[in-house]
């Protein structure tokens, strides 16, 4: 988390855009309002691609790229976008970023692209990206929107990396495809590779997140 804070200040302090908001936004997105662990968004991809740590990291990078890019553009266009077609405009912007990333993977990381299969393309429908564009970028200036996109992207990527780490470790005894738990004394637990393992891992991560964060303060009516 220390690194994230550094990043936030580097993004906004020199430009004087922070005004204390950058850090709050970052903390909100990456931790207090974590898109996966607290808001329960983007569960589908988090379950599907986390069977290996490498896949999880690439997927996290993809979401950071898309979220930052689409937040920036949506925020830049927020005063010009007609209210009636703002959602379709957001989808068009998001889809453009997603396809750009997909093309990049297909051209330079073919094996990774094969493993992630349709899930990169499905980022278009990821509620996190759309949610941030609609809830944040439409009302906030570009720099702050970038920070928000970064924060939510990191929040998603970190949870994915944690799940990917444990699923690969327990499921195949490997990390980054290298054997860590020797087959001599560790029998890989197949279920961690399969879908049920994803649910177990995600549930435990969400539980730990919420236990550390403490219960949600009740809203006063």
């Amino acid at each position: 988390m220390a690194d994230n804070k550094q990043l936030a200040c580097m993004t906004c302090v020199p430009k004087g855009l922070c005004q204390g908001k950058g850090l709050v936004t970052l903390k909100e997105g990456a931790w207090a309002n974590n898109p996966l662990a607290i808001q329960m968004l983007g569960i589908c991809s988090a379950l599907a691609v986390t069977n290996r740590l490498e896949n999880s990291l690439v997927m996290g990078a993809a979401l950071i790229f898309v979220c930052v890019g689409s937040n920036l553009i949506v925020s830049l266009l927020r005063k010009y976008t007609p209210h009636r077609i703002r959602m379709i405009a957001e989808v068009a912007i998001i889809a453009t970023f997603v396809i750009l990333f997909d093309q990049f993977l297909k051209a330079f990381y073919w094996d990774m692209s094969k493993q992630l299969g349709p899930y990169v393309g499905l980022i278009i429908t990821n509620c996190i990206v759309m949610g941030r564009a609609e809830a944040f970028a439409l009302q906030n200036p570009p720099m702050l929107s970038i920070v928000d996109g970064l924060a939510n992207g990191i929040g998603y990527a970190v949870v994915l990396a944690i799940i990917g780490f444990f699923r690969e470790l327990l499921g195949s005894g490997e990390i980054f495809g290298r054997t860590v738990l020797s087959a001599d004394w560790y029998t890989p637990n197949q279920i961690m590779i399969l879908a049920p393992g994803a649910f177990f891992a995600l549930g435990i991560v969400i539980g730990i997140f919420n236990a550390i964060k403490g219960p949600e303060p009740e809203e006063k009516k």
Binding site: I88, T96, P118
Partner: protein, 204 residues
Amino acid sequence: MKGSVYTLGYAAVLGAVCAFLLTAAASFTAPYREANAEAEEALNILLALKVPLPAEISSKQVVKMRDENVQGKKRGDITTYVYSGAEANGKVLAVAIRFSGPGLWGPIKGFLALEPDMRTIRGITFYEQEETPGLGGEIAALWFREQFAGKSIVDADGKSGIIISSRGEPAPNKVDAITGATMTCDKVQAMLNEVIKSIVKEKQ
């Protein structure tokens, strides 16, 4: 009215900009993607023919290995890919035929490799498919493909064709279907029978 014109104009401009960006990206990455696709195809010919491959192999090496070991030969309407390794002194070790057809979500393409007797299946691979991951997508999994090895493209009565089904008695030309992927299996069966028909026709 003025609002509508602005909205339409905005949508048109945004659409045009996005389309331009995507076209630019697509044409920039096209040569890389084509090279990847060629390597993928080459790898699948080699895998279907069961050409021994080193554990680690780059995409350039794959294309080179295919060019060294496999010759494309046209026989009537079908193109066969003949595997005769350097050590085999020109003896035919296996023959692969490309097949393709519509899947459930998109086109399915692959290679069916036969032993020199042109009856027994040596291997099968799918190098392009967009079936449902975990269901129809399992056609590309090793367990499904390995079932085909040693099966015959002709049944006990000499009738040609392969059956992919979970029902009925085991037969020399029958493999198990994937539960929950009946549509994909039926379509794969249809496209395999199509290519088997053309092989049998060519043999006569």
